[in-house]
């Protein structure tokens, strides 16, 4: 069935590739947002109380689908960070490190339960604040966040088992800076293991998506978590820098861009602070000719268009065996037309809003680069809303490793299609990047899965599936995608004094 043509255009052969005409159109099905109320203004959460920022300044958080302001949050500065660190230190010394491990665990179980109870509210706020479809925040982000707390709650009184004969002591106070792509989930990934291991925390959510972390703070109050165990300081880059630089912090955990990660690593060098980093990626999603092709198409679509492509482990490079390139491109061309782009609160939306104007500009710039470099642009004909930051699902064919769009992380719904001939070549191209977060392998042959997996320099390998996450499954990168793992037993190690970690000598 495959022709020898590689340079396909948008006019692909076949009876089923017409842009969709008016057919059975789904009416809007908007998730209700009237069963809860957001406060117009949120303060900082320090020592179990809502505290006004030292500067008195607040900034707006905007709904990227409508470009309207949803709420105002406090702008924390170095003085606020200092107060938060002091509160965390006091809570650590006086309460948290003295508490029986099983009791610590029971607090974390409570948090998990209350997230489940307020699940719908959290999901709606996540979609309003960040732009992701309600279908995803409801079915992926919130349930995984609760599950993460459940899993780590159970570790609190079992740490010795995880440490296999070594002691299990916490580090002290952890400073955590999280990104805007999975705001609540990233808060869960950071807080749960830190607390389970007996540390206290100062957390800074991303400046474009602070709200679910602040609702989480309300939940922590409801759970009667001892004051100061978790402190939340909202703000932008300067606030994050204040946390990274604060001498009273024992450990920094950062998820975000590789560029900022490197800055943090430089800043911490020479101190006794421990560090884990979860940075960017440019994952290869590798499809062999013997793959279950229709399921591979779903895996590719999910790999790059889930969460608008704002995913560090996104399958942003499709490496396809040359003999099935044309079939796959034909199926992808058709498939992207059924992706529904629009209102994140519509239950039928598949691709929501781009998180911010800045991110939209970056995507547009890189797509323009791809076009000017001579790659062929394929884009869905989805009608984008008049307001808001939206981008249609896109892929490029005729891409080679040397193109910018094959090398730079776009962090948007844009896929680059590259061909290979043999498994060796696939491995070579997949590994030919400074990143190493994830990879996908599509083949019906199990032995080939293991052969490829062994050779791929990536921390997470998905075989015949993609974008699967579980609290028990360690996640993290090789190379410039960062170091340290989140999830499972490996996720405890960054928060224990006697486990190996990086960027600092062992403190005794």
């Amino acid at each position: 069935m495959a022709s020898k043509e590689l340079a396909t255009t948008t006019a692909v052969q076949g009876t089923m590739n017409k842009p969709p005409k008016a057919g059975w159109l789904y009416a809007p099905s908007i998730e209700g947002a009237d069963h809860f109320r957001l406060k117009p203004r949120y303060e900082l959460f320090i020592s179990g109380k809502w505290v006004e920022p030292h500067s008195g300044k607040h900034f707006a958080t905007v709904n990227p689908a409508t470009e309207t302001v949803i709420a105002e949050v406090a702008e924390g500065d170095a003085a606020d960070v200092d107060a938060a660190v002091k509160a965390a230190r006091e809570a650590y010394e006086k309460v948290w490190s003295k508490m029986r491990a099983a009791e610590r665990g029971k607090y974390i179980f409570r948090i998990a339960r209350r997230i489940q109870e307020r699940a719908r509210e959290l999901a709606v706020v996540e979609s309003l604040d960040g732009g992701k479809p309600i279908k995803e925040s409801r079915d992926v982000d919130v349930p995984l966040a609760a599950a993460h707390f459940f899993h780590y709650a159970g570790w609190a009184d079992k740490l010795e088992y995880a440490m296999a004969g070594r002691r299990a002591r916490p580090l002290g106070v952890a400073g955590q800076v999280i990104p805007w792509n999975f705001p609540l989930l990233m808060a869960a990934w950071k807080l749960a293991p830190a607390l389970a291991c007996g540390n206290t925390v100062v957390l800074k959510p991303a400046e474009t998506t602070p709200l679910t972390a602040l609702i989480l703070a309300e939940i922590l109050q409801e759970c009667e978590l001892p004051e100061g165990v978790v402190n939340i300081v909202t703000g932008a880059g300067a606030t994050g820098a204040a946390i990274v630089g604060h001498p009273g912090i024992d450990k920094i955990a950062f998820t975000g861009s590789t560029a900022v990660g490197k800055r943090i690593q430089r800043e911490i060098a020479g101190t006794s602070k421990r560090l884990t980093l979860e940075l960017g990626g440019k994952a290869a999603n590798i499809v062999f000719a013997d793959a279950a092709i229709d399921q591979a198409v779903e895996g590719i679509i999910n790999g790059i268009y889930f969460n608008q492509g704002h995913v560090c482990c996104a399958g942003s490079r499709l490496l396809v065996e040359e003999s099935v390139h044309d079939v796959l491109v034909r199926k992808l061309t058709r498939r992207i037309e059924t992706l529904r782009v629009g209102d994140p609160l519509d239950k039928n939306t598949d691709v929501g809003a781009i998180n911010s104007k800045m991110q939209l500009n970056k995507i547009q710039e890189l797509v323009a680069a791809g076009v000017s470099e001579g790659c062929q642009l394929h884009q869905s004909h989805a009608k984008l809303p008049d307001r808001g930051y939206f981008f249609a699902p896109t892929f490029f064919t005729g891409v080679s490793q040397s193109h910018r769009i094959a090398q730079e992380e776009i962090f948007g719904p844009v896929l680059s299609v590259i061909t290979f001939r043999t498994p060796d070549e696939a491995v070579e191209k997949a590994n030919n990047t400074e990143y190493g977060l994830s990879a996908g392998i599509w083949t019906d042959k199990a032995a080939k899965v293991f052969w490829m997996a062994k050779r791929l320099r990536a921390g997470v390998v998905w075989a015949n599936t993609f974008n699967k996450f579980d609290p028990t499954s360690p996640f993290g990168g090789f190379k410039e995608s960062g170091f340290g793992r989140e999830g499972g037993r490996a996720g405890l190690l960054p928060y224990l004094a006697d486990a190996g970690s990086f960027a600092a000598p062992e403190a005794e």
Partner: protein
């Protein structure tokens, strides 16, 4: 063409040999259709090459399509479309003219007050076809008859073809046949192909639906292969189930069969229809199936010529949902005829 039997008897005289062992073996061969070359002479039939199916991914895609939230005008439109796609079915040993006439009336005019289309067809056993024909004379509602020793298919081909011819003679517009699952599972794909081709010939002008009985085939890979064989052998529709075996139709199976059709059409084949049967019990499920067809096949399949529901209890649930959409309150069972 006389072929050697595997165990050679000294008294062998070909097909009408006198030894009882030979007679027994002839009958067995006829039943199992071994080594006689088949109707189309395809002794060395090579089944179509089909790509593998990854079950977890298939089920995830079906589940994600089932999550579509269909409301308001699109819900009303979808429910009406579902009615127009129904093959209202009764296939019971105790079917009588009375039962069938009532069914036909319901198919023709499902509800007195609600503005809904007629069903696509009724589906009955051959003996009841003449009754249906009289009851539906002059209407757009088609008459589908099961045939080929439905539901098991475990009879000689001659008998199965006669079953088809009679049903067509009685007035059936459509024939729903069953494939020989025994032949399929023991690897005799040639027999499966031959029987479909022969049935298609016996149908004449009647259009042929091929029931795969997906609940007996074991894996999605097997269903994919059976679908491909059915299409290549001349089926106009591929259908999931007889409704007599669990599991019957499911969303993943339906999605898979649609994907097979899509691949054939992409390769230049004519358009083939699809029918899930059994297991579609309520309006919500019917809408889920429509989402599947809509997003996998597009507009060209969203009509009764290309997609049907094999159902009985489904109709009333759809009518109740339509009424609820109109009045804003949940309907009660007593307000809808049970025929």
């Amino acid at each position: 063409m006389v072929t050697k039997k595997r165990t050679q008897s000294k008294t062998s005289r070909g097909r009408t040999g006198t030894s009882s062992a030979l007679v027994a073996r002839n009958s067995q061969d006829e039943a199992l259709h071994l080594s006689t070359g088949g109707v189309s002479g395809r002794r060395n039939y090579r089944p179509p090459h089909v790509p593998p199916v990854e079950a977890v991914g298939l089920e995830e895609r079906a589940a994600s399509l089932a999550k579509r939230s269909i409301k308001k005008a699109s819900k009303v439109e979808g429910l009406k479309m579902a009615i127009s796609m129904m093959d209202l079915t009764t296939l019971e040993g105790k079917d009588t003219p009375g039962k069938v006439v009532a069914l036909c009336r319901k198919a023709l005019r499902p509800h007195e007050k609600l503005d809904v289309p007629s069903c696509a067809a009724v589906c009955v056993y051959p003996n009841l076809v003449p009754i249906a024909k009289r009851a539906l004379a002059g209407s757009t509602v088609k008459i589908a008859s099961v045939a080929t020793a439905f539901p098991s298919g475990q009879s000689p081909l001659k008998v199965k073809l006669e079953d088809v011819r009679r049903a067509v003679e009685f007035g059936a517009d459509e024939i729903d046949m069953v494939i020989d699952r025994g032949a399929f599972l023991r690897g005799d794909y040639g027999k499966v192909f031959d029987e479909i081709a022969a049935t298609k010939e016996a149908c004449g002008a009647a259009h042929l639906k091929v029931i795969l009985e997906t609940g007996e085939l074991g894996t999605y890979d097997a269903i994919r292969l059976a679908s491909a064989i059915a299409i290549e052998a001349g089926g106009d529709f591929i259908k999931t189930s007889t409704g007599k075996v669990q599991p019957a139709a499911t969303l993943p199976v339906t999605l898979l069969m649609l994907e097979v059709i899509r691949d054939y059409v992409d390769a230049g084949w004519r358009m083939i229809g699809m029918k899930p049967a059994g297991g579609v019990r309520n309006a919500k499920q019917a809408l889920q199936y429509l989402c599947l067809v809509n997003e996998t096949m597009g507009d060209d399949w969203m009509n009764p010529d290309m997609f049907r529901f094999g159902a009985s209890a489904l109709l009333n649930d759809v009518l109740m949902q339509l009424e609820a959409q109109q009045t804003g309150r949940y309907a009660g069972e007593d307000y809808f005829s049970k025929d």
